[in-house]
Each structure stands twice: as C-alpha cells, then as structure tokens.
C-alpha cells in the first residue's frame, strides 16, 4: 500500500447548513487516492451528508470539493455522478430491471449499446463473484448478499477511479457482511480504486479503512488518521468513547505476534522434561492438524488457532479460548506448528505498550 | 345566465321548499332511502369483510365479488327489478344495496387485513381471545379504512338515489325527472345542485365522525 498517496478528493472549508441545523461544519479533509477511507461516527454526525456532497447528491452551502484537483461544480451534476460509482444501503437496485440491466445502468446512460452493456455486466458479475446465471433474474429474486454484490458491480461499471459507499453492508446478516467485507478488500487490491466508505460500525471502519475519519457531533471531524493511530491515541474523550471499551483489545490487532516464543509440540519430552501443558494433551488428526485436547479420558474441542503472520489479538484469543490455556499455532497448511504461552502473550502486549509511549524496560 | 337566474328564483321562492312535493320533503325522502339502503348493505357487507380480514384468507374472493358487483350497472338492476317485482320501494332498494356492498366490503376487508400482523401476534401472545383481538386491536386500528369505505358507499348511494325518481319514487331526483319532462332546465340544475350539496355535507359529517372515532395515534399525514 503506498504510504504517501496523492489526494483524490479534497474538502476545503465545506459547510452544509439546513434551515434548522448544521449538518457539516467547515470540513477540511484530503482523501488519499487508491486507498479505502472510512467515515465513521454516530448517526446524525454528517458522515453521509459529507459523502453525498462528493457527487452533489447534496449541495454544499459553503466551501469547495475538489475531485482530482477539479472543482466538482465545474460540470453538470449528472455527468459528475456518472463518473463515480455509488453503492447504497439496501443496494437500491431498480426492481423493474434484470440484474444485468441494473449493472449496465451507467454504461447505458453514457450511450453504450445494449450488447456492450450486457457484455460489461457479465464481466463485472465475475469480478464481484456472482454466478452469471443470475443475469436474467430480477432483484426480488436475489438474497440480500447477492443484491449487495449487484450493487457493487453496478458501481464498478461506472469505470471510475472513485467509489462511494454509503453503509452498503449494514442491512445484511453478520456472516454475509464479513464475506462482503473480505470481498471488498480483495476487489480493492485487484482494482486499486479510491473508496470512500460510510459506516456507523467502528469494527467495520477498522477492518476496511486504510484511513478513518471519525465524525463527531455537529458535523466536525474529531480525528482523521490510520486505524492504528486512532485506536492507540484517540484525540479526545469523544473518540475514545466512540472507539469503545474494547479498544485496548482492538489495538492488539495492529501488533504483530511474530516475535512470540513458540513452544515445540513435543515439549521437552526428548530431553526428559515434562510438557508444561500436562495433564492436557494436544490431539492431532491424520494430516497433523489440531483436533482438540484430551484430559484423562475426556476429549474436548480446541480453541481458535494462531495463523502465520497473525496479530497479538489473534494470539491472545488462541490462548484464552484453549481448554488447556495454551494457544495452538498452525502453519500455512493448517498443521499444528507449536504452542503459545499466555505469559508470553501478556509480555509481548506489555512491550508493545511501553514502546508506544517510548518508555524503556 | 337565464338558467341560473331562474334556478335562483326557484330556490328563493318559499313555495318551492314546503309542501308534499317541496324541497324539504324530497330531502327527507332522499335521506330516508339512502339510510335504509346503507343500513341493509352495512349489515351484510361489514361483518363479512371484517371476518375475512381477520382470518387473512379468502381476500381474493372478496376482491372478486366486489369487482363483479361494481361491474353491474345499477340502472339496469333498478329497471329489471322494477319490472320483476313491480313498482315500490323493494326493487330500487335491492338494486342500490348491491351497489353499496362493494365499497363497504372492500373497505372492511382492506382495513382489518392491513393491520400489522406483528401487532396481532403480540396481542395473541399476551393472551387476548380472538374476539378481543378483533374488537380491541383490529377494529380500532382499521377504523379509518373502514370509514373510507362507508364514505365511498354513502357518496355512491346519495348520487344514485336520484334515479329512483325515474321509477316514480321521490327524492331529490324528482325535480330532475319532472324538469326533464317539461323541458325546464333550471329545475334540473336546481335538483343537481341540491344533490351535490347533500353529498358534500354528508361527506363532511362522516369525515368528522371518522376523525372522532379514530385514535389520534393512527392519523397519517394527509
């Protein structure tokens, strides 16, 4: 991921005022090109209004918004909108058009022929992982997750470097949501668009955003930075409370677990020493993958696994969820590679904390 | 302008209002016929509509029956029954009852079946009997829509009672038929102004009653 990215979208002194209230106040923000920037905050904080000012679904009262250096009021609103993808909550699909026709909407608006539009739609269905067989279905015949994928494909069809997403996954169930989030990350790596993603869910903001803008009351940005920065050093009490009670735990997501000492599966048996996890015994299947723990006659399901390159959070969870109190590490093939001790995880977390504040041992 | 002047003169003449063939007695006749028709139609249509709505099945039958009744030409039924049963009240009342059933039936059915199933489910979960669900949950919530049906039926009946004069009965239509017979256009105009005014007033009264009977919590913005 490029660290010093060019600016794709720039808000300069942007204010949106309605008769009775200020939705966004004096917003200055530079959204880096090629990254995912999430806007997060409580409802009514102006995050959606800010997003909608980018493609002029909402007109700013004051200030300017530059898209790749160009004032977004320099061209007609409908042209501006056709030039960037937009995904919304509930997908907002046209119920009277087939999946393929929905995806081809913007190309058709721009004058593409029916055949070209259809061909492009089929390509995009592959891109977002939709079965081409669904092309002739109507939106009413799709599941929530499928509909949302069609929404993403339709936005990609604009073929623009910028994608705006307004709480796109908030209406689908958690399992499907995680799927769609992973898919979005994959798509982003593949297509390298600038994505602005609005969500009220801090976990989603952290999981997806290379940059996070935390919106506070009254349409001001309380903090803008990388997820690590925001979790490590919340700018004020508002951000700290919004980031939540779990932020200490969440922060461990950004600390690597690679340095953790790995205890060999065999323990010290070869050299005559006891296995420190006794009387628990780790069970392996035929492929040497962890299959649970045994305590005397009882066999118990194992905990979560620590994968190569995993974070301290993953390591801590592996330890806490293991019946024996020892976390199981696996290699890329899923074979048990070693065990992690809870003391080591806590020590690593302590080192991370001290280095954050620059305090030595 | 001649016509309107004559109409005005007729309205201004006290003799037009009193007596056996006067405006007041025709008005009372008109209201009487309408009330009788609506009462009979309501006794038949409302319970059926409410019941079907409560059971939440058989809606297609209700819609079909209402559609078929709507397609029947009231004047045709009126004349047919008049020949069949003979002159008198029975024939026109029968024809008009058939006319009034469609809006009453659809209103009652639509009102009750449109009650949020979650609300009904919650009532059932709290231990209300079916009868209590109907009278304490569904009917109060359905009042505005049921009343919409009643208003619609009233308007249609008031309008159509005017043609009862065609088979030698009274009502405000009398002036229309009499005026037509002697080519007195101003009398026809007067008759229709009265019918329109009556419809307007009755609809306003029913609208007021609807407001009074509907829970303020149900009022939608319109």
């Amino acid at each position: 991921m490029p660290e010093t990215a060019a600016t794709a979208i720039e808000f300069a002194g942007v204010t949106k005022r309605y008769e009775s209230a200020v939705a966004v106040e004096d917003l200055d923000l530079a959204i880096p090109a090629g990254l995912i920037t999430t806007f997060v905050g409580p409802s009514g904080c102006g995050k959606t209004t800010s997003l909608r000012m980018i493609n002029r679904m909402v007109e700013a009262t004051e200030g300017t918004i530059l898209i790749q250096g160009e004032d977004n009021r320099d061209r007609p609103a409908h042209e501006l909108r056709r030039s960037m993808g937009y995904v919304m909550q509930q997908a907002g699909l046209m119920p009277h058009r087939t999946v393929a026709d929905n995806i081809a909407t913007v190309p058709r608006l721009k004058g593409a022929s029916r055949a070209d539009g259809r061909a492009r739609a089929l390509e995009l269905m592959d891109t977002v992982g939709l079965d081409r067989k669904l092309a002739k279905r109507y939106p009413a015949q799709l599941s929530g997750g499928q509909a949302q994928r069609v929404g993403v494909a339709r936005a990609l069809a604009a073929d623009s470097p910028i994608l705006l997403m307004d709480e796109p996954f908030s209406a689908v169930d958690p399992v499907v949501r995680t799927d769609l989030q992973n898919e979005l990350v994959r798509l982003h790596e593949q297509l390298e668009r600038t994505i602005v993603f609005v969500t009220h869910d801090i976990d989603e903001a952290v999981a997806l955003g290379h940059r996070i803008a935390v919106f506070g009351e009254g349409g001001r940005i309380a903090q803008f930075g990388t997820p690590e920065e925001i979790l490590r050093a919340p700018a004020d009490d508002f951000v700290a409370s919004f980031v939540g009670r779990d932020r200490g735990l969440r922060r461990l997501t950004f600390a690597s677990g690679q340095e953790l000492p790995m205890h060999p599966l065999e323990g010290g048996t070869a050299s005559g020493l006891e296995r420190p996890w006794a009387p628990w015994e780790l069970l392996l299947d035929d492929a040497a993958r962890p299959a649970g723990w045994r305590f005397g006659e009882r066999e118990v399901t194992g905990g979560t696994l620590f994968t190569p390159g995993g974070s301290l959070r993953e390591a801590l969870d592996a330890v806490l969820s293991s019946p024996s109190g020892w976390g199981v590490a696996v290699d890329d093939a899923g074979r048990a590679a070693g065990l992690i001790a809870s003391d080591d995880v806590m020590a690593a977390a302590g080192r991370e904390r001290r280095s954050r504040y620059g305090v030595g041992e | 302008m001649n016509v309107l002047e004559q109409t005005w003169k007729w309205f201004a003449d006290p003799a037009s209002w009193t007596g056996a063939g006067g405006i007041w007695s025709r008005l009372v006749e008109h209201l009487g016929y309408s009330g009788l028709v609506l009462l009979i139609a309501a006794v038949i249509a409302l319970p059926v509509g409410v019941l079907v709505g409560h059971r939440r099945s058989g809606g297609n039958v209700v819609v079909g029956v209402a559609g078929a009744l709507r397609a029947l030409p009231t004047l045709g039924l009126l004349t047919l029954f008049a020949l069949w049963i003979g002159l008198g009240l029975t024939a026109p009342v029968l024809a008009l009852v058939l006319l009034a059933i469609a809006p009453l039936l659809t209103g009652a059915y639509a009102g009750v079946s449109a009650v949020d199933p979650v609300v009904v489910d919650a009532a059932r979960a709290q231990g209300l009997t079916e009868w209590q669900i109907l009278t304490r949950v569904e009917l109060p919530v359905a009042v505005p829509v049921i009343f919409g049906g009643i208003r619609n039926a009233t308007l249609q009946v008031i309008a159509t009672v005017t043609i009862m004069a065609y088979i030698d009965l009274g009502g405000l239509g009398r002036f229309l038929i009499d005026g037509l017979a002697v080519r007195d256009y101003s009398r026809m105009v007067a008759s229709m102004i009265l019918a329109a005014a009556l419809a307007l007033v009755l609809d306003a009264v029913l609208a007021g009653a609807q407001k009074l009977l509907s829970s303020p919590g149900l009022s939608k913005e319109d």
């Binding site: 909108r81 913007v106 339709r154 | 030409p73 047919l80 308007l155 005017t162 043609i163 229709m192």
Partner: protein, 219 residues
C-alpha cells in the same frame, strides 16, 4: 337483426364514453399527482411544509370533486361548456372529470409507493429528472396505478349507463327503453352487455399491467 345492430351501436357509444374519459382522465391525473406526491428522498430533510400543503390541497380537491354525483355533472356542465346535456362532448368532459377525481389519489399513492432509495440510486448514478421519471418512477408506479385504474374503469362503465335517464345514448338506453316497453329481455341484454364490456376491459388492463410489471416476481 335490427335489435342486434341497435345493441352494437349502443355498445360502441358505451365503449366510447367509458374508455375515452378513462384514458384522458389518467393522462391528466399523472402530472397533477406527480406534482402533488410527497418526495421522501434522503438528505432532503423529509417532506417539507410546502410540499405537504400542496399534496393536501390537490388530494382534497380531488376528493371534493368526487363527492359531486356524476348525474349532477352531466346536468351542470353544459352551463359552463355551453353544449347540450346529451352532446358527446359534455358526457366525455363530465366523465373525464370524474375519472380525474378518482385517479389523482391513486396516482399520488402510486408515486409515493416507489421506494425513495431506488430514486436516490438513480440520481446517484447520474439520471436526469426527465429520464428518471420515464425510466424509473413511472414504470415502478404501474402496479398501484393499475389497481386504481381498474376501479375507475369498471365504475365508469357502470356510471355511463346512468346517463340514459336524461337521454344520453349508451347501453343504458336499453334499460330505460326496456322499462318503458315492459321488455325484461331488453334490460337483461343490456346488463349482460355492460358486464361483458366491463370484464373484457378489466382483463385488458390486468394483462397490460402484468406485462409491464414482470419484475414483480416472488422471490
């Protein structure tokens, strides 16, 4: 044979008086209703005060017009139009007004039944207002509009025959004539012809609406 050609002629007159006003009335109602329908797009701050007043005025005006009996319109309109009561123009205008009174409300409901998210999505993708209206809003309002249209059409067919009382020719003439000549058969033929006409036209509307709304498939 004479009777048959009379029935044919009266059916034609009846068809003209029932279909033409429904078509004209619907075409008039659509722009009025679109002007009055509440916009609920997000970010617009919900339905604004002025929009609500506009909707109220239009819907109530339509309701008021609906309270006027159709027979009254037949008799009173010539005062304004200067036509004779039995002229076709008078009948068509009166019934068109009546259809407008019924259809405005249906069309307002129809436009308001269209999901604001979908309209919003259209705007976000760069639809201009006119194209959004014909490409998204109108097709999506067909189901509710068609339901209103069916009621208006069938009611209108029944209403046309009432005109016979004051001498307007239609299938209703068979009723007045049958009563005068004491011919029950003539009346029955009239009723049957009217019902068949209503059923056929109603089917036609249902089929057209179904063809236009094939997207309304159950999941």
């Amino acid at each position: 044979m004479g009777n048959l050609s009379t029935v044919g002629h009266l059916t034609w007159l009846h068809l003209l008086q029932s279909v033409l006003p429904v078509v004209l009335g619907t075409l008039i109602s659509i722009p009025i209703a679109r002007f009055a329908a509440g916009r609920r797009a997000r970010g617009a701050g919900g339905r604004r005060g002025a929009g609500r007043v506009r909707r109220g005025v239009v819907v109530n005006a339509a309701a008021l017009l609906y309270t006027v009996p159709s027979l009254a319109l037949f008799v009173l309109l010539p005062l304004i139009l200067g036509t004779s009561i039995t002229s076709l123009t008078n009948v068509i205008v009166a019934l068109t007004l009546y259809v407008v009174a019924m259809m405005v409300r249906s069309c307002v409901d129809a436009f308001e039944s269209v999901s604001p998210e979908v309209l919003d999505a259209g705007t976000a993708m760069g639809y201009r207002p006119l194209r959004a209206f014909f490409g998204i809003e109108l097709p999506l309002s067909v189901p509710v509009m068609a339901a209103g249209l069916r009621v208006a059409l069938v009611s209108n067919i029944s209403m046309v025959s009432v005109g016979a009382v004051i001498g307007i020719q239609s299938l209703g003439t068979l009723f007045t004539d049958g009563l005068r000549r004491d011919l029950m058969a003539e009346i029955v033929v009239g009723i049957l012809a009217t019902v068949v006409l209503a059923l056929v036209l109603d089917r036609l509307v249902t089929w057209s609406a179904a063809a236009l709304t094939r997207w309304q498939v159950r999941a």
